[in-house]
Symmetry: C2
């Protein structure tokens, strides 16, 4: 049991950092098949949503809404998928995924359907810049 | 666009009703592979979490916590999976699934891995009774 929070090594490897909200780290999953974000509450030893206090849960809900609204506006997605699973990586993390009816996994959930696809670096930079403007500056 | 809420016919077919919290209908998915609940906010024309008002989102978070705490206590699950996907049924519904390291899909997400398994009626009655005690009477 650690007393300080740090991003789980597997999540570190799988994501590109965008920035911090009051509770959560925000990151992009390295998979160009879908616009796919992760919110990771910066609290040590938390695995399930119910391990957060009620105040932290309310703050996480606010941050999920803020990021999801931005992601939908930027991508014009058909549907959002929002999920806290964590069967493989036990550190609490919330997936926010913009789904399109034409994407590689539709209508299935994205996990394990097709191998991750590398991002085009310029497209990824533009996506992160657009998110930063909407989430932190709006 | 309907002005009154009713449970989507597919969700009606796939679930057994448990009862209503202030915002959400609570139901069990008819699949004995996993202790699997559904929360469906009783608001018409809502597909994504971000379609709810901020007050409704906060209420939904409270109800998710209440049901998830009860489900974990009853099942002694290893992990909770909480997800709003809705790619197939567009009416907003939140899955709350008790996962065990020995279950049929572990560590994968449950969707589409193994066919649904019929409940034993007495076990289902006992499960629903235990949930009602913890969620509504606690």
């Amino acid at each position: 049991m650690s007393q300080t929070w740090s991003l789980h090594p597997q999540l570190m490897q799988d994501t590109v950092n965008i920035g911090d909200l009051p509770l959560s780290r925000v990151a992009v999953i390295k998979d160009a098949n879908y616009p796919w974000l992760l919110l990771v509450p910066r609290r040590p030893n938390v695995s399930d949503l119910i391990d957060l206090s009620e105040i932290e849960q309310a703050q996480l809900t606010t941050e999920i809404n803020r990021v999801a609204v931005a992601l939908k506006a930027i991508t014009k997605a058909d549907k959002l998928n929002i999920a806290a699973l964590g069967n493989v990586v036990p550190q609490l993390h919330v997936h926010i995924i913009a789904r399109r009816k034409t994407d590689a996994a539709w209508p299935r959930p994205v996990w394990g359907v097709v191998p991750p696809l590398d991002h085009d670096p310029q497209e990824l930079d533009a996506f992160i810049a657009a998110l930063r403007r909407r989430v932190w500056l709006a």
